[in-house]
């Protein structure tokens, strides 16, 4: 394998080319999609055609009769193996295949197994099912009071203490209600100089990883191996072991590279299905989704956000009420965590004395929603930064000045009661203003092509509490191997972890080997999500490397060698031959305090992320078409480990959010049928949709608790993009759009409404 020439100095802070890039561009990187095992069966899923219904009958006889079909499986067969086949990180609410009821169009109902995937697909078309239709609910606000109830009884997983009170609850679609009260928002709003209230909406969208979800299971008499495109191998092992009633050491989860994840490949997706299919068939089983099927697997929450702010005579925000409804779809997935862990940042990066937040996770009859690059934050920033601009304009204040006046600065106390530490809010806003030349007059364009500009800034708290473990070995020849469960899904984590270990051990990052997730080998890690890995796993790898370094020093000392002696000589003496290795290990668990009854805590998060975006654009006044001429993204990512990867992560996040802002939307009809479940009708941005000019910059900052001053970066540039664009459109043509996406038609029609 080719790699860049090793550089011995300055491992951290250097733009080391990605260690796997050669493998990827030559088509040699390992992906589960390419895996074929002897005797392997392919599973093809038969899906529900109604959004809510009681299953009256499933007829698999025609499918079973197709030549080449090995077996057709429904929940009946699964329950012979796993009596309670329900999974999920927050609620045990999702059946491996539908049981008694279906809750959304596209829900898996049966699976055909065949040696030929085309035979499996053809046979799956021959399955028929009859449903007794039930009333359905699709809107997140209606779900609060709807008579249509998605789950007869709530089934919290028991892992999270704040969900315990929901156990066994009936006649509700509320999967979590989170409340935060600081001061007295209602009273402060009454006495405020001016009060503003708005309601915003975001749409349901899809992650669209270019590698669709795929899992393979193979079993022996008493063990099971899963090869899966997963962001959370440790969770998969724990959950599969729980479902099967096995000890964890009988379940092995292997994860090679991922072709993108973005939160789609978290927790259990296809793993429970292939596991039970393999145990039923006693053969390896693979299920690979098509791009189209991904729309029916996991999505991003649609939301409604009512926000109300009171401002004093000096333009200071004194009170804020936030009410957020998260459309979780038919199964909770990680939605309840999004509702709370992101919900508490709903008031935004502003210093507000009186705050009330009510955040609700709702079940509806739509495909399930989970985490998507930002863990709910982009939905919140969309609302509060559009709101901020609307207030500023009504108050006759410059949007930048208004933000400056109210910004929560490092060292101040956030609405939760947690002090903002190493959160460069001020620096990020000022750098954005400088890069946008905000103080300079702005060219407004022509009557046909109006120009506008806008800014937005968002704050995220890293999810807590979570744990990472790592091991680092040093071989007799000095070669370094890192064992960690962080999944490289394209974000460059292998390279970053190698740089951290290399820095500690004084070797070249290019020479370090990073062993991919294999739960038989790599120690526990919570998951690769929420921009947590560089901070948590980075710290664990750093500590493990330091442990290895210390052990090497101890071995040398013990054997009577000087500190600069070669390991070969030391080990030769110690073991009588040139052999042996040193294993360093460490775990990293940041401290955390659970919120009290008012949702307050003095330790809500191990670190904060700050992201701001600025946009210059032009609007075609005859068509509503928007062309973004300049997009500036500024972020606090601490001190970059790899500046080039930081830049591309910021660019990638912003471009992804650009799609969620301008074009992407899952379009459902009145019966909950998805009308555009293919990339032919669901459009993600292509190269020609990118802004003419784009700047991605990390401010000079340090996360003192992070590895070499670093913290997470993958999501930060998603925060400000949507509201910055809406604010710029308003600046250009004077129309305010409060629902995403900002399509040319919506902009044009809104322009016609103007008096």
């Amino acid at each position: 394998m080719k790699r860049a020439a090793p550089t011995e100095t300055g491992q951290v802070g250097r733009s080391v080319p990605r260690l796997e890039s050669w493998l990827k561009v030559t088509g040699r990187a390992e992906y589960v999609h390419n895996l074929r095992l002897p005797g392997m069966l392919y599973g093809k899923i038969f899906r529900s055609t109604v959004s809510h219904g009681r299953i009256k009958r499933i007829d698999v006889s025609a499918a079973q009769a197709v030549a080449g079909v090995y077996r057709v499986v429904t929940s009946k067969e699964i329950r012979q193996l796993v009596p309670e086949p329900y999974y999920g990180p927050a609620f045990h609410d999702q059946p491996i295949l539908a049981i008694d009821k279906v809750r959304y169009v596209g829900e898996p109902v049966a699976v055909v197994l065949a040696s030929d995937p085309h035979v499996a697909e053809e046979a799956a078309h021959l399955i028929t099912a009859e449903y007794e239709p039930l009333p359905a609910v699709y809107d997140e606000v209606e779900a609060m009071t709807s008579k249509a109830i998605v789950h007869d009884e709530l089934r919290p997983a028991g892992t999270f203490p704040d969900l315990k009170h929901l156990k066994g609850k009936k006649n509700t679609n509320v999967a979590l209600d989170f409340h935060l009260r600081r001061g007295d928002a209602a009273k402060a709003l009454e006495s405020a100089h001016k009060v503003f209230e708005h309601r915003f909406h975001t749409q349901q969208v899809m992650h669209t990883p270019l590698e669709p979800l795929v899992s393979v299971a193979e079993c022996t008499e008493d063990s099971l191996t899963l090869h899966t495109a997963s962001q959370s191998p440790s969770f998969v092992r724990i959950e599969i072991a729980r479902l099967l009633g096995w000890p964890e050491n009988r379940v092995r989860v292997r994860v090679p590279f991922l072709g993108g994840g973005f939160g789609a490949k978290l927790y259990i997706k296809l793993e429970a299905l292939v596991a039970v299919l393999s145990l039923l068939a006693r053969r390896p089983v693979k299920v690979s989704l098509t791009m189209e099927e991904q729309f029916f697997t996991i999505t991003k929450h649609a939301t409604t956000f009512r926000i109300k702010s009171g401002v004093d005579g000096g333009g200071r925000i004194v009170a804020r009420e936030c009410e957020v409804w998260w459309n979780g779809g038919a199964y909770a997935d990680i939605g309840p965590r999004v509702t709370q862990k992101s919900g508490f940042t709903a008031p935004g990066p502003y210093d507000i004395a009186h705050v009330a937040v009510d955040s609700y996770a709702l079940y509806t009859n739509l495909p399930p929603a989970g985490a998507l690059r930002g863990f709910g934050i982009p939905q919140l920033v969309w609302a509060y930064e559009s709101h901020t601009d609307m207030m500023a304009r009504e108050l006759g204040l410059d949007p930048l000045e208004f933000r400056r006046k109210n910004l929560l600065l490092d060292g101040a106390t956030h609405a939760t009661g947690t002090v903002l530490r190493d959160a460069a809010t001020g620096k990020v806003l000022e750098r954005l203003a400088a890069l946008m030349d905000w103080q300079k007059p702005f060219e407004r364009g022509t009557a046909g092509l109006r120009r506008g500009r806008g800014i937005a800034i968002g704050l995220k708290a890293c999810v807590a509490p979570t744990t990472s473990l790592a091991a680092v070995s040093v071989n007799v020849d000095g070669a370094v191997t890192v064992y960690c469960g962080t999944v490289d899904m394209g974000q460059g984590s292998d390279t970053a972890m190698a740089q951290i270990a290399a820095q500690v051990l004084g070797v070249a990052a290019e020479s370090v080997k990073v062993v991919h997730s294999d739960t038989d080998v790599t120690p526990y890690d919570m998951a690769t999500l929420g921009s947590r890995s560089l901070f948590h796993m980075g710290n664990a790898v750093k500590l493990a490397a330091e442990d290895a370094r210390d052990k090497v020093a101890a071995v040398k000392k013990e054997a009577g060698f000087p500190a600069d002696a070669s390991l070969k000589d030391v080990f030769k003496k110690k073991y009588g031959m040139q052999a042996g290795s040193v294993l360093g290990q460490a775990s990293f668990v940041p401290t955390y305090t659970s919120p009290d009854a008012n949702g307050l805590t003095d330790n809500a998060t191990p670190f904060w992320m700050v992201g701001a975006s600025g946009v210059e654009l032009e609007v075609d006044t005859e068509t509503g078409q928007v062309r973004i001429t300049r997009l500036v993204n500024v972020a606090d990512v601490g001190t970059p480990i790899n500046p080039r990867i930081v830049e591309t992560q910021l660019a990638g996040a912003a471009i992804m959010q650009l799609g969620f802002t301008l074009s992407e939307k899952m379009e459902f009809d009145a019966e909950g049928q998805l009308r555009n479940a293919s990339l032919a009708e669901y459009k993600i941005p292509g190269f020609h949709d990118l802004p003419a000019s784009m700047v991605n910059e990390a401010v000079d900052a340090e996360q003192r608790s992070g590895p070499f001053g670093a913290k997470g970066v993958g999501e930060t540039a998603t925060f400000g993009v949507s509201p910055a664009i809406a604010n710029a459109i308003h600046d250009a043509v004077g129309v305010r759009i409060m629902s995403l996406p900002l399509t040319p038609e919506i902009i044009f029609m809104k322009m016609q409404e103007k008096p």
């Binding site: 085309h118 697909e121 053809e122 078309h125 098509t290 005859e622 068509t623 799609g659 074009s663 379009e667 009308r675 555009n676 293919s678 032919a680 009708e681 459009k683 993600i684 941005p685 292509g686 190269f687 020609h688 949709d689 399509t743 040319p744 038609e745 044009f748 029609m749």
Partner: protein, 258 residues
Amino acid sequence: MAPFELLEPKSLSEALALLDADDARPLSGGTALMLMMKAGVLRPARLVSLSRLGLEKIERGPAGELRIGAMASLRKLETSEVVRAGWPVISRALLRLSNVRVRNVARLGGHLAHGDPHTDLPPLLSALGAQAQISGPRGERSIPVESLYSGYLETTLQRGELITRVDVPAMGKRRAAYLKCTTRSADDWPAVGVAVVLDGERQTIVVSAATDRPTRLASADAADALPIESDLHGSAAYKKQLVRVYVKRAIHEARSAD
């Protein structure tokens, strides 16, 4: 996808004979066909590939016309020096037709015979007065590209007929423009496509995508009367506005074209 038989005849007569069967379909580039087969919309038992019939040639004909073999790839058309020199409006239109990967695979004949109004060359070639050469069980015929279309995904091609070549008259003093408007992403299929050809005082305007087939407009003002329906590209009202604007702009662009 259902199993099928793939045949690769080496002569046109052989291809026509093989197509004379139930559930047989010609395979041109396959970019649309494969999607339809994967979706289960089409389930042909036999695919007859046209790739070995020697229909790729792009050349200037005796009357100065452009002759495009039906199996010329869209990419080859885009980069052809002959086309660029004599019919630059075609080269320019191709730059925004889907993406380069699709253009490498898709062929002109399939692009035209597909009958999808959300494509770019049918309105342009119609406006340019191109003729389609057609071979079939009952011999050969030649018809204007404009009369290839009878409705949404419907053509006037008869069972067993193939487009073998497309002839585009020399531009002469004519000036032309094609404008594509997408509403979702830049490489989307058009929501509206407008081709305009100016020949002295004569003005040819052909609108597609918003209509169920390429449709000729008597004048720029005739856009309001077009039958336009709402779909995932936009509402009927919005697409009407786009047609009005893009017809105006295409005329303007054609006037300033070289």
